[in-house]
């Protein structure tokens, strides 16, 4: 499946899909040999071919380092070789703590900083192709805008720069102001705007020209719960419109609620990629049993269960291999079983696990992240 870099993606209409096994519906785009021919992590067993859409973003070993220090120059790595593919129509969350490399990745893709190595293709074009820019929208982290302009003037200016025709532009600007709830403040200079209002302007300018692909850098940062909800709704709307959304965040609940897939980055290195449902469904080798009782049966304790009583209910966690024996205890004691579920890893646990220092050689680590 490997192909030389630079081959048009259109020549690869098929990708080799391995659907994830498990209790959850398999995702059609989470585990695949992408059009770079990268071997990708496989978790499942159902193998088949599926026609997929074009890749929206293909990042091939993109890396960035800076020279720091005045006299004694030393290299500071901001992003280690990153290999990642995002499909069209996908909502992808880029997770990581502050300084992990999320913003660097976005700046590289936007052409604001230049890579030390590697390349990327956006919507089938090289990332430095000027044609790309008219099809993407970008919201920087904590955006600042020309504060001498009003919201309406700013959107009109960005519409001009994006090449939106004059007739269409006025309607688009009004539509965006309405959509982000800024119609009443449309003629107020941005210097009088609150942080939340600026974030709304930022979102409006990012989607003003109806881009196919939207990059959002920490879109929920600094917003109150209501503002965060509105941004989440907006991202959902973009998904329904078939847009591809690539957003960075360190708020896991947002990623869990919105993303088809997430990538975890730490210290400039991609630590893992996968569908949220897949990452959080990895069994821990334990089961959780909930049943009606006012005390923990002695038989369960002997099986090594960690149990707690809550009113008339008992919640017990015990090793998966003890499942049959535990059910036998409940049957013997004539206790009513409410539920039995495998213990799943939360996204937070997955995230924390990936924040730990990597073990083993770098090359090995990289193999698992080339999705």
């Amino acid at each position: 499946m490997a192909r030389p870099h630079g081959t048009p993606v259109d020549h690869f209409p098929f990708t080799f899909v391995i659907a994830a096994a498990g209790p959850f519906p398999s995702s059609t785009h989470n585990i695949a040999y992408n059009s770079f021919g990268d071997p990708c992590r496989s978790l499942g067993v159902n193998i088949g071919f599926k026609r997929t859409t074009m890749s929206a973003i293909e990042i091939l070993d993109l890396e960035k380092s800076y020279q720091v220090g005045f006299w004694r120059k030393r290299e500071k790595v901001a992003l280690r070789p990153l290999r990642l593919t995002i499909q069209e129509g996908e909502v992808f969350g880029f997770l990581g703590p502050n300084g992990a490399g999320k913003t660097t990745t976005l700046k590289l893709l936007m052409g604001l900083v230049f890579p030390t190595g590697g390349s990327a293709r956006i919507l089938g074009m090289e990332m430095d192709d000027p044609r790309v820019k008219s099809q993407i929208g970008f919201l920087p982290e904590q955006p600042y805008f020309y504060d001498h302009l009003t919201a309406r003037e700013l959107l009109n200016y960005y519409g001009q720069l994006s090449g939106v025709a004059a007739k269409l532009r006025t309607a688009r600007v009004e539509d965006m102001l309405e959509r982000v709830g800024l119609m009443e403040s449309a003629n107020v200079q941005l210097r009088k705007f609150s942080k939340g209002m600026l974030q709304r302007v930022g979102l409006a300018q990012a989607i003003l020209h109806d881009p196919k692909l939207v990059f959002l850098d920490e879109p929920m940062s600094g917003l109150d719960p209501m503002g965060r909800r509105e941004v989440r709704d907006l991202i959902q709307q973009l998904r329904h419109e078939g847009k591809t959304v690539f957003f960075s965040t360190h708020i896991l609940s947002d990623a869990e609620a919105l993303c088809d897939r997430v990538g975890v980055i730490h210290q400039g290195e991609l630590r893992g990629v996968g569908a949220v449902v897949e990452l959080t469904s990895q069994a821990q080798g334990k089961i959780e049993i909930i049943f009606c009782a006012q005390a923990v049966p002695a038989g369960l304790t002997q099986l090594g269960a960690e149990a707690r009583v809550s009113g008339d209910m008992v919640n017990a966690v015990l090793p998966e291999k003890q499942q049959d024996a535990a059910l036998e205890v409940l049957r013997r004691e004539r206790l009513k079983l409410i539920s039995l579920t495998p213990v799943r890893k939360s996204l937070e646990e997955y995230y924390i696990q990936n924040m730990r220092p990597m073990e083993g050689p770098k090359e090995e680590n990289r193999k698992g992240v080339g999705v």
């Binding site: 000027p130 020309y146 720069l161």
Partner: protein, 263 residues
């Protein structure tokens, strides 16, 4: 304008730069300048005998030049660096705007601001001239030529400020630009010194004399104050020189900015 074209995008960026300068009340100094000029003209009219015109033209044009250079440096040094610091540039360059278009647009926005600025200040000077002489004379047309040369000076100063702003801090950009303005105002003297010098020192003085912008050739204030005409050939040469020099400096700014990482 069609934004699919580079010139249209440059126009939009230039207009936004101009609009920013206007709204930041930079042009408000014009009112102060007009009042100052009128006041000075009245005062000069009272205390000067026979040389009112000479003093008003000298004072007025020098003030126009200094005010303009200060404004050019003041705005020019922040044109690029401020956009990087405030990150307003991110949302511009993530659109179909090439970096050179941004720099050129900024340059035209600033020069546009200064042309409008000079226009207002020129009105102040001419009104002062009218007050002292009660009528315009034939030789006053050379005052307009001197004003035109001052505008050409602003073009070069804007380009220099923008050039330094593309890689340096605002403070250092201001220092560099102002230093070059001073040295450039003495360019003729420097070239004269070079002609008299020999050896390495002479070669160095010649190189510097021709590398720095020749602001002294663009300064005909004293000449027109005395009512002397300006040769048509000088107008042509100065125009070509200012356009060529500014273009070279802007090209340098583009070259640097083109490869700059926007941290």
């Amino acid at each position: 304008m069609n934004a699919g074209r580079a010139d249209a995008r440059i126009g939009f960026i230039a207009f936004n730069t101009f609009r920013e300068a206007v709204r930041d009340r930079v042009l408000y100094n014009l009112i102060a300048f007009a009042l100052l000029m009128s006041g000075a003209a009245i005062l000069v009219g009272e205390i000067s005998i026979d040389i009112e015109r000479l003093v008003v033209v000298n004072l007025g044009l020098t003030a126009v030049s200094i005010f303009g250079v200060v404004i050019a440096i003041f705005i020019g040094i922040g044109l690029v660096s401020k956009e990087i610091d405030k990150r307003t540039l991110y949302t511009v360059l993530s659109r179909p705007v090439r970096r050179w278009e941004f720099v050129v647009g900024k340059f035209f926005g600033l020069t546009g601001t200064l042309v409008v600025n000079t226009l207002f200040m020129a009105i102040g000077v001419l009104l002062a001239l009218l007050y002292t002489a009660h009528k315009f004379e034939k030789m006053d047309e050379w005052v307009l030529v001197a004003l035109y040369f001052i505008v050409l000076q602003f073009f070069i100063v804007c380009a220099l400020a923008l050039f330094f702003s593309s890689f340096s801090t605002p403070l250092m950009s201001a220092v560099f630009t102002f230093a070059l303005f001073i040295i450039g105002s003495l360019a003729e003297d420097l070239r004269g010194f070079a002609r008299m010098s020999h050896g390495v020192g002479g070669m160095l003085a010649t190189a510097i004399g021709y590398l720095v912008p020749n602001f002294s050739a663009l300064n005909v204030i004293s000449q027109v104050a005395h009512g002397d005409p300006v040769a048509g050939r000088l107008i042509l040469y100065n125009t070509l020189y200012a356009v060529f020099y500014s273009a070279m400096v802007i090209a340098g700014a583009v070259l640097i900015f083109q490869h700059r990482n926007l941290k």
